[in-house]
Subunit: 148 residues, 2 copies
């Protein structure tokens, strides 16, 4: 995919598959130190006695990696600009996981007041190398309309 | 606040106010390079002609900083472990913004099947130095019950 996509190019059911992001212990700990400094995200030994029973990535790191993968796989004109998201993490992301995002267009709604744009709802599933969902996200994104 | 909080310690309406995080251009560009490499998050000049009309932080960076501020202000026993969130970004976070999070307990529900825990719903507002909300989040978090 080299061309950018406008509102008219998107149809309910369209699917986009991202590239991959391989996550390792160093990335998990670095992110956690900056944004989510809790024992289960910082140290495998300390994580053993917690809810996660071993080192797990911050859910927000899974979200940030999902965004990285979306930016590379969803060539919307004007960029990928989210307005509202609903996110759940059905299971933890672990060191060694290789993440991939599959995005499906759920709705396409032209704006009534702004003829140059609309809103698109995407269902984005972030899965690990075993195909298990580590994040489910419904995202409402801005989408511009091709002129003419 | 030095003691950790258990499910029994939380009441609807309880409020927690975080410390502050001052965001600058360097942090915004560094995060964007890693997770959200789009012109409006990478370069102030390129951002001028976009929807944001100037450099703006990735929404996911605002979320990650919110988590950092929550970890410092919400001393839940067992940690701050989110299961499901609903997030919107009413306006962009900009270089120079100083963020602060106010969290309010919306509901407290003991688990029926697991007597040692429950779920707490929090409304977390991330505001800038002018008191304008840059993120609104409803977050369902795991909370452990004090024994005995």
């Amino acid at each position: 995919m080299t061309d950018v996509l406008y509102l008219q190019d998107l149809t309910v059911g369209d699917t986009f598959t991202s590239g991959e992001h391989a996550l390792d212990t160093e990335q998990i700990i670095r992110f956690a130190h900056e944004f989510d400094p809790q024992p289960f995200h910082l140290d495998d030994q300390q994580a053993q006695g917690t809810f996660f029973a071993g080192l797990a990535a911050s859910g927000w790191q899974t979200s940030a990696i999902t965004m990285e993968l979306l930016v590379g796989s969803l060539p919307l004109a004007g960029g990928v600009i989210g307005a509202h998201v609903d996110v759940s993490w059905p299971q933890p992301t672990r060191p060694g996981d290789v993440l991939r995002v599959t995005s499906t267009v759920v709705s396409v709604a032209p704006s009534r007041s702004r003829p140059d744009r609309g809103m698109v709802v995407l269902e984005c599933i972030t899965a690990n190398q075993r195909g298990e969902a580590v994040q489910r996200m419904t995202s409402k994104v801005l989408c511009f309309r091709r002129e003419g």
